[in-house]
Symmetry: D2
Subunit: 106 residues, 4 copies
């Protein structure tokens, strides 16, 4: 991911766009692009794979910029969150079900 | 990213969750998590960095699962999209402005 | 709202579009249109009022269709929810602050 | 809708919350609530109707506040937009299909 992050940052530096990239603006941008990704599936499941891939790339592009704005690495924060989620969703309770952790039997 | 992708996939295999991870369900999930990320900035800009990082990790987690469902690598698709975007936003037109490409002067 | 609901329903009946309007598809549609509304504010606050109004109308259009799919009236459900919110946000605790109810002092 | 709009405005005036309700913050809020609505359908179609209704009410609540911030009436703007959409989607082309207008045969 490091390589691609550098490419994305360089692209934006060349265009002097970092001034637009406050965490708040990037959070909006991720939501906007997520909506465009969802649009590929709006009425049915016959999605156009090329369109889906492009919209997914747009979401990830802004996630990379957000990680830069926050001074963190995406790999690190996904790993950290995974460790927390492992505790909230122990295999024996979570296996095969989509139940939210706060609705597990105690 | 390869390492973290394997960790994420293993986590979901252990819980037999891949059956939920159709591209459509993942697109919904990315939008839902993007909304939670945006909530950190709902009324003002005094965000809690730890919360923002966790919500961003959730978005990226589902992007990783989506890349797996589509059989692509996130690094590759972001790079491909960047090449397209470079053509749509040449430096001399895009520099310092947030104008959308379809509103550039011809 | 009754008048406009009938107009919206008639428009969709004429086009035989109700078959697409499952609650799930409408939930996706509301998110998609909400993303387009948000795009009017992506990089700054200099929004185009006409564009904002059109995107807001799209969101509400799908909310009307959702109310129809669920067999409820928007006025009724907003009123019901308001009563609940009044209890969660008593004036003396909520006045002038954007604090979420679960973070109020006990 | 007029009655319920007045109720919603009064609720927010009593709490001195209008100061938070810039069009931009309301656009974020509509997206956030749309995400919560979508969450009711995240993994399958077995939705809890009561939850769906509450989340839909939250979306409409913020749409009402947005209409107030913009100085327009929701009924008026939905009707205006419907007239435009009727032109973009003539019955003979749109009947029974979910095709986007820009993909119609010329």
């Amino acid at each position: 991911m490091q390589d691609i992050k550098e490419r994305v940052l360089k692209f934006n530096e060349e265009r002097d766009w970092h001034k637009f990239h406050s965490p708040e603006n990037l959070a909006k941008s991720i939501s906007i692009e997520a909506g465009e990704l969802l649009e590929c599936f709006q009425w049915n499941n016959n999605y156009n794979k090329e369109e889906v891939i492009e919209e997914l790339a747009d979401v990830v592009n802004y996630c990379i910029l957000m990680s830069n704005a926050l001074g963190v690495e995406l790999e690190d924060i996904v790993l950290e969150k995974l460790k927390k989620t492992e505790k909230k969703y122990p295999i024996e309770k979570a296996k095969g079900v989509s139940t939210k952790y706060n609705k597990f039997d105690k």
